[in-house]
C-alpha cells in the first residue's frame, strides 16, 4: 500500500507505484475513471488511509456518526413502542457507550495520529473490545461481545450509509470498488456515471456480474482484496475483457489502455452491423435469440442488439426499488412499457424471485440459516398470496396488449406448478367478475433450475407450456456450490458432467412432450458453451442484451452437424476440466476473435 506521504509530495505520475490485480472478467469493455470505494457494514472493513489534509474532516465524520447514533438510540428509548425492561436496558447501555468520551477519543486518535479512515478506526477499536469480552472466562460476560458488534454496526451504518448516499448522487464518472454489491445498492446507482465495477467477492454469475452485463459496463470480480489496496479517488482501469484491474496506472499503461478502449468500441460497432441479420447456422437451422432484462429501459437495448423478444423479464426491481410493496398499477406500468417497445414479439415475465441473496428493503424476510434452501421465490409467493395475486393480476391485464407469457421460478415439484396455476385461475375468475379483459390462453411456463425439476421434466411438461432453464441456480444446486462464495466458486461450472447430463435430459423430455425449452441462464451468454448447447439440441437462448451480437456471430459461424459431434464427445468425457478444455478449443477454432 502506498504511504500517504508519497502522494503528498506529488511525484511525477510515472513514479507512482502502479498495482495490477487479477480477478474474473464478468462483463466486457474497458473503463478508466476515478474510484469510488464503498464499504459495507456487513463485512470486515479493510485498512485504508486518509491523506493528512483530510484527517480533520475524517475525525468529524467519526464525531457525526457518534452523534447520529446517539440520536437514533434516544428516539428508540423515548419511543413508547419500545418494550420495557431488557430491550430498554440494552439500548441504554449502547447509548452510554456512544456517549463515552474515552471510546470516542480512542477512535478519533487513531484517525488523527495514524491517518486511518473513520470506518476502519471504528471497526478495529470496537472489534478489539469485542475480542476482549469474548476471551473472558465468565460466559455471561463473554456473550456481551454481541453488544459491541451491534454498536460497531450502528456506527458503520451511519458512516457507510452516508457514503452510499454519495454513490446515489454522484455527478462524475467513477469506477465503483466494493467488497460485493447488493441488488439494492446496484438498483440505486445512477448508471450514467458508473463506468466500471470492481469487487473483492463474486464469480461469473454473482449479482454484480449480472447487473454489469445487463447495463453493458465493464466489470471484474473476485479480486479478493481490491478494497484494501486502493486509496480513495485513485485512478483505476477496469479491463473487463481480461479480468484485470490496474490501480494508479503509469502513463504508458494509461496510453495503452486508452488505445484498447478505442479498439474495443470499434469491435462493438462491427458486431452491431449483425443486428438485422438472422441468427441461423451455416447449415440453415434457425436459432432464436432473446434478451434478459431487469429494468424496462433495458428493453430498448435488446431491440438495438437484435434480440427477437424478452426471454426473461426479471421483476424483482419492482420490489427492491421502493420502500413499499409495488401496487398492481406499478406492475402494470412496468410491463406496459416493455410491451410498447416490443409490440407483438414475445415477452416472458417471470414472477417474483426474491429471497435468498436478494431481499426487499422492508426486510420482509426473516433471517434463515440456509436461505438458498429456504423460503424464496415461488415458495414465498405461494405463502404470500396477496403479494402474489397482485402481480398475477397485473400480468394478466397486460396479456391482452402483446404476446405476454408467464413463467414461475424455482419450481421443485409438480405440486408447486399446480398450486401456482390454480392461483392464476383464481385471479382470472376475479378478473372475469370485474369485467376486465385478459388472454385466457396466455402460455404458462416454468423455470427448470433445481435438480428435482430437471429430473422430473417429463412429468412437469404435462403442466407447462414451455421450459426455461435457469442455469445459474441449476448449477449451484446440482454441484452444491455457492456461486457468490469466492472460496468455492471455482467449483462452479456449467461444464461439469452432472450439469451437461441434466441439460441433455431436460431437452430430451421437452422435445418428447413437444414443448420448447430455452436457456436463460448465464451459460447462454458465454460463447464457449453455445456449440455444446446447440449440439445438445437447444434452439432458443435468452441472454444479457450486450452479448446478443457476439452469440449471433458465433451461431452464424457454426453448423449444427459439427455441434452435434462436439456434444456427443463432451457427453462421453469424465471430468469438468476435460469438457471445458475441449469445448473452449472447439469454439476458439470457429471464432478466435471472441476470446
Amino acid at each position: 500500500m502506498k504511504s500517504p506521504g508519497s502522494r503528498k509530495r506529488k511525484l511525477p505520475s510515472e513514479y507512482l507505484k502502479m498495482e495490477i490485480k487479477k480477478g474474473i472478467a464478468v462483463s466486457p469493455g474497458i473503463a478508466i475513471a476515478r474510484s469510488l470505494v464503498i464499504d459495507s457494514e456487513d463485512y470486515r472493513i479493510p485498512k485504508r488511509s486518509v491523506l493528512p489534509s483530510a484527517k480533520i474532516s475524517e475525525v468529524k465524520r467519526v464525531r457525526d456518526a457518534f452523534k447520529k447514533a446517539v440520536k437514533e438510540l434516544e428516539k428508540f428509548s423515548s419511543g413508547e413502542e419500545i418494550a420495557e425492561g431488557n430491550i430498554k436496558d440494552i439500548f441504554a447501555v449502547h447509548q452510554r457507550f456512544l456517549k463515552d468520551k474515552n471510546l470516542r477519543k480512542k477512535i478519533t486518535d487513531l484517525v488523527y495520529n495514524e491517518l486511518l479512515t473513520a470506518e476502519y478506526a471504528v471497526s478495529i477499536t470496537l472489534r478489539d473490545i469485542a475480542n476482549h469480552f469474548a476471551s473472558v472466562q465468565d460466559k455471561y460476560i463473554s456473550e456481551r461481545a454481541a453488544d459491541i458488534y451491534d454498536i460497531e454496526k450502528r456506527l458503520l451504518r451511519h458512516l457507510v450509509g452516508g457514503k452510499r448516499d454519495d454513490a446515489e448522487h454522484i455527478n462524475r464518472e467513477v469506477v465503483i470498488v466494493a467488497h460485493e454489491l447488493s441488488p439494492t445498492q446496484t438498483a440505486s446507482f445512477d448508471r450514467k456515471f458508473i463506468k466500471g465495477l470492481a469487487t473483492d467477492a463474486g464469480g461469473r454469475t454473482s449479482h454484480t456480474a449480472i447487473v454489469a452485463r445487463s447495463l453493458g459496463i465493464p466489470a471484474v470480480v473476485g479480486l479478493e482484496d481490491v478494497t484494501g489496496n486502493i486509496a480513495p479517488t485513485a485512478t483505476v482501469i477496469v479491463d473487463g475483457n481480461r479480468g484485470v484491474v490496474i490501480i494508479d496506472p503509469d502513463e504508458p499503461t494509461l496510453k495503452e489502455y486508452r488505445q484498447h478502449a478505442i479498439e474495443f468500441e470499434r469491435l462493438e460497432r462491427e458486431l452491431d452491423t449483425l443486428r438485422d441479420m438472422d441468427a441461423v447456422t451455416r447449415d440453415g437451422v434457425a436459432i432464436e435469440l432473446y434478451g434478459n432484462i431487469e429494468f424496462p429501459y433495458e428493453a430498448e437495448m435488446v431491440l438495438d442488439k437484435g434480440g427477437q423478444g424478452i426471454g426473461l423479464y426479471r421483476t424483482e426491481f419492482l420490489y427492491l426499488y421502493s420502500q413499499t410493496e409495488p401496487t398492481e398499477e406499478d406492475h402494470y406500468k412496468a410491463y406496459s412499457e416493455v410491451i410498447r417497445i416490443f409490440g407483438n414479439r414475445p415477452i416472458i415475465i417471470r414472477t417474483m424471485d426474491l429471497g435468498a441473496d436478494k431481499f426487499t428493503q422492508s426486510k420482509r424476510f426473516t433471517q434463515e440459516r440456509n436461505p438458498f434452501l429456504g423460503l424464496r421465490s415461488i415458495r414465498f409467493c405461494l405463502q404470500n398470496l396477496v403479494l402474489f395475486k397482485t402481480q398475477l393480476r397485473a400480468i394478466l391485464r397486460a396479456s391482452v396488449d402483446g404476446d405476454v407469457r408467464i413463467m414461475f421460478p424455482l419450481i421443485s415439484s409438480l405440486h408447486e406448478v399446480r398450486q401456482a396455476k390454480m392461483i392464476l385461475h383464481d385471479v382470472m375468475e376475479d378478473l372475469d367478475e370485474d369485467g376486465i379483459k385478459y388472454n385466457p390462453n396466455m402460455p404458462v411456463g416454468i423455470m427448470i433450475e433445481t435438480p428435482s425439476a430437471a429430473l422430473t421434466a417429463s412429468i412437469l411438461a404435462g403442466e407447462s407450456d414451455f421450459f426455461s432453464i435457469g442455469t445459474n441456480d441449476l448449477i449451484q444446486y446440482t454441484l452444491a456450490v455457492d456461486r457468490g462464495n469466492e472460496r468455492v466458486s471455482t467449483l462452479y461450472s456449467g461444464a461439469d458432467p452432472a450439469v451437461v447430463n441434466l441439460l441433455r435430459s431436460v431437452i430430451h423430455d421437452a422435445n418428447k412432450a413437444k414443448i420448447s425449452a430455452s436457456i436463460c441462464g448465464e451459460m447462454a451468454s458465454e460463447p464457449e458453451y453455445i456449440m455444446l448447447l446447440l449440439g445438445l439440441g437447444f434452439r432458443i437462448f435468452s441472454l444479457a442484451p450486450p452479448m446478443i451480437p457476439e452469440i449471433k456471430k458465433l451461431v452464424r459461424s457454426v453448423t449444427v452437424e459439427s455441434c452435434n459431434i462436439i456434444a456427443r464427445k463432451a457427453l462421453s468425457m469424465n471430468s469438468e476440466r476435460e469438457i471445458v478444455n475441449y469445448i473452449r478449443s472447439a469454439a476458439m477454432k470457429v471464432l478466435p476473435e471472441v476470446f
Binding site: 436496558d89 441504554a92 463515552d100 474515552n102 471510546l103 473472558v136 472466562q137 455471561y140 460476560i141 456481551r144
Partner: protein, 103 residues
Amino acid sequence: MADTVSQSEVEIRNANGLHMRPAMQFVDTASRFTSEIKVSNGKTEVNGKSIMHMAMLAAAAGTKLTITAKGPDSQQAIEALKDLVEVRLFDEVAWQPKEKAAE
C-alpha cells in the same frame, strides 16, 4: 470544599458479575459525583466513569475491586458505589459461591 481521597474495597456479589447493565449503573452512579473515580482489579486501573473501561474490567462474581475517589465529594461517592455493588447487588440476584452452595 477541599479535595479528599477515599478508598474502599468491594466484592462483586451479584450472580452475573459486572456485565453491561451493572457497568452502566456503576458509571451512572459515579457520574453523579464531581470526584475523579478510579477502579482497580489489582492488574489494571480504569476510569470509573467510562462504561467502556468498566465493562472491559469484565469482573465476574467474586472479583474484588478497589475503588478510589478523589475530589470534594469522594466520601459520598464511595458510599454510594459500595451500596450499589454490595447491598443493592445491581438489583440482581445474589451470587452463590460453589462451596457455600454445597453446604
